[in-house]
């Protein structure tokens, strides 16, 4: 098959699998961390692994990088099995949560380190003698680092030590060190979590921009669903060692496969209320009966309704008492106590609608039945498999 392989390489299209994980299994002692995880990442894609702490997302990234060995399974990079290849030879670059800059080296030296380690012999790396022996190559490396520094706007910091930089600047230097040798893919392990909120939002945009410019594969690990939603081409939602769902952010937000995914993605999180489906294809939820597109089988269901799908409506079929208001400026989230539900429902309202509503007031609201996301009692999604046979 080599000719085939070369062909796909020459095409260089987005269809080439850049990194493929097959049935990765990992245990730390007796604790399973990853259970037969498989994932294919296409060339040039921005893929986010997102999940709560301890779901195995960082371990998966470290297995990709080669810093951790999988107990079972394969890692393929550009079609080559790299399970036994050292991290350095996989030609991946990694950005760490703590940036992991060498504190004793200047920014320029930090950025040149990957080049020095790769392209210079140990003699040429000697402190004073080295630059004398291969002046040209040292010069070329410095130029390369300077070019990257220009694109990241850190040229004026090149002679400083990491300790003299702010968090955001360190972040850029770590990126620069990763970019300097044109890796096959960038692996990022929660790179923004040490930054303050405003800078984090800013860096989100900047990373997306960088990805568009470099057109290289990005694999990004985060526990922040907002980062996953805003930046990625595709995201993989992980929980307790499994990938629950892979898809475009829109797709996962609007169409989650399981209740867990639905609950994890979206902020404030989805409202889940118990309901009862009957054989006629209707669902009885919070005392109202609404038509649903799920198969008409009589069973207990969980109905998911996003805050933006609930709307204040004077003639609404439902009513609740306002227990808490969250004013975010552009939106106001009302927490409503509704008869027959345990947790308050969160409703998103526009400021002009909700500004006069005080705590303890009863409000009427409603929702469009087509917005319902219906799950079975065990948390699996009930989809519109076949249209309801009988329409009431």
């Amino acid at each position: 098959m080599p000719s085939n392989l070369i062909e796909t390489h020459l095409l260089g299209g987005g269809s080439v699998a850049n990194i493929a994980l097959r049935d990765i299994e990992k245990k730390f002692g007796e604790t399973p961390v990853l259970n037969r995880v498989s994932l294919t990442i296409r060339n040039g894609e921005f893929v986010t692994l997102v999940g709560p702490s301890g779901c195995g997302k960082s371990t998966l990234l470290r297995i990709m990088a080669g810093l951790e060995a999988a107990d079972r399974g394969q890692v393929l990079i550009d079609g080559r099995d790299v399970s036994d290849v050292r991290p350095a030879e996989r030609n991946l670059a990694m950005v760490f949560q703590s940036y992991a800059l060498y504190p004793h080296l200047s920014v320029a030296e930090n950025m040149m380190t990957p080049l020095r380690m790769r392209d210079l012999s140990s003699v040429e790396r000697l402190p004073i003698l080295g630059p004398l022996l291969s002046r040209k190559r040292h010069h070329a490396m410095r130029l390369q680092a300077d070019t990257i520094a220009d694109t990241l706007k850190i040229s004026q910091l090149m002679d400083r030590k990491p300790g003299q930089l702010s968090g955001g600047q360190r972040q850029r230097v770590a990126l620069g060190r990763a970019m300097v040798r044109n890796p096959v893919a960038f692996l990022m392990d929660e790179p923004l979590s040490n930054l303050d909120a405003a800078l984090r939002v800013h860096m989100r945009a900047e990373l997306s921009e960088l990805h568009r410019r470099l057109k290289t594969t990005f694999v990004y690990v985060t526990h922040d669903q907002a980062e996953a939603l805003t930046m990625s081409d595709r995201m993989a939602v992980m929980m307790h060692g499994d990938i629950l769902q892979v898809g475009a952010p829109d797709e996962i937000y609007a169409n989650p496969d399981t209740l867990e995914v639905a609950r994890f993605i979206g902020s404030p999180s989805i409202n889940v209320v118990p309901g009862e489906a009957d054989s006629s294809g209707k669902i009885d939820v919070m005392g109202v009966s609404v038509p649903a597109t799920t198969a008409g089988v009589r069973q207990a269901v969980m109905v998911g309704l996003r805050p933006e799908h609930l709307s204040l409506h004077a003639a609404g079929r439902l009513s609740g008492i306002v227990r808490h208001r969250e004013n975010l400026g552009a939106d106001i989230f009302l927490h409503l106590e509704v008869q027959g539900t345990q947790n308050p429902l969160v409703l998103r309202a526009a400021p002009n609608e909700a500004s006069r509503i005080g705590l303890g007031e009863a409000v009427a609201f409603d929702f469009d039945p087509t917005d319902m996301i219906v799950f079975a009692a065990d948390g699996t999604r009930l989809r519109a498999s076949t249209p309801a046979r009988e329409v009431a």
Binding site: A65, A88, A100, T113, M117, R118
Partner: protein
């Protein structure tokens, strides 16, 4: 008004204590070093720099400097090197590491004066375990080594009582005793190196152990090394108990182990020549002071990455 003097109450007690127990004794020692005072005398005559002149001209004190510097410049590099080596090895081990840690640290905890007795036995020329072990090797290929053949033909060295060997033997015991301490300091330094730096080094292409050592371990141990080296220097300059245990009568064969601390003790306490004893003390303080300054000026600036 009272509040304006409040600061005096805060710094006062510490300041007074420092002056009384640190600065005044040093000043008194300096003063004494300019006299021929001995304990019990009514008065003392001012002799100017005569004591210092003696220290830097008489052959006894030349021997003192030779012995001290030999000891220091053998013990410091070896304890630092071995301490680092042992720490790196132990750090790479799992639970067994704790066992090694305890074993290597034992000599540090043990009183050197007690250990000196054991070493005196071990180094005994005829019944000592070292020479009798060496004798077993006689007649084997080891005799190809000239030194060994000579030892077999006559006797193996009188380790502690031979002018040629005494200071090196004492240094060896000093290394044996001291490196465990440095090892513990280095272990503390090693645990504070963030693991992600090694991951980063691995990703950057530092595949060999030596590369990772050069790129991460050694530079990040910089502050520890500065501290370890300084502490080792000061501890080595202060060596005394072993010399006193081995050679209660005057500093070893031909005064070849006549280290500074022992000289201070012999002059100032045994012979009651407080003036000269104080002068040696001041010279000793000078050395330690210079070392500390070098540490602060030269190295600390480069190893603290602020």
């Amino acid at each position: 008004m009272g509040s304006q003097r409040a600061h005096l109450w805060f710094i006062g007690p510490a300041l007074i204590l420092m002056v009384i127990i640190l600065l005044i004794p040093i000043v008194i020692a300096m003063g004494l070093s300019l006299t021929d005072y001995s304990l019990g005398n009514q008065g003392a005559a001012f002799v100017g720099l005569e004591n210092y002149e003696r220290i830097f001209t008489r052959s006894t004190y030349e021997k003192m400097f030779v012995a001290t510097f030999r000891y220091v410049f053998v013990v410091v590099p070896l304890t630092v090197g071995l301490g680092l080596g042992a720490a790196l090895l132990i750090h790479s081990l799992g639970r067994i590491g704790d066992l090694y840690k305890t074993i290597y640290f034992l000599p540090v905890m043990a009183a050197l004066i007690a250990m000196a007795i054991v070493w005196e036995f071990a180094f005994h020329p005829t019944i000592g375990v070292i020479n009798s072990t060496l004798e077993r090797g006689c007649g084997s290929f080891l005799e190809a080594w000239h030194w060994y053949a000579k030892g077999c033909a006559r006797t193996f060295p009188l380790w502690l009582n031979d002018r040629e060997y005494a200071i090196w033997t004492v240094s060896f015991i000093g290394v044996w005793q001291g490196f465990g301490f440095n090892m513990v300091l280095y272990l503390a330094g090693l645990t504070s190196i963030p693991a992600q730096l090694y991951d980063a080094a691995e990703m950057d292409g530092a595949t060999r152990g030596w590369d990772r050592f050069r790129l991460v371990t050694w530079p990040l141990l910089g502050p520890t090394t500065v501290f370890v080296v300084t502490i080792s220097f000061i501890r080595s300059f202060q060596v005394f108990d072993m010399v006193e245990a081995f050679y209660p009568q005057g500093g070893g064969p031909s005064k070849s182990v006549y280290v500074m601390m022992f000289a201070i003790y012999e002059k100032g306490i045994q012979q009651n020549l407080m003036g000269i004893g104080a002068a040696i003390t001041v010279v000793f303080l000078g050395f330690v002071m210079v070392l500390t300054l070098i540490q602060r000026r030269l190295v600390e600036r480069r190893t603290h990455y602020v």
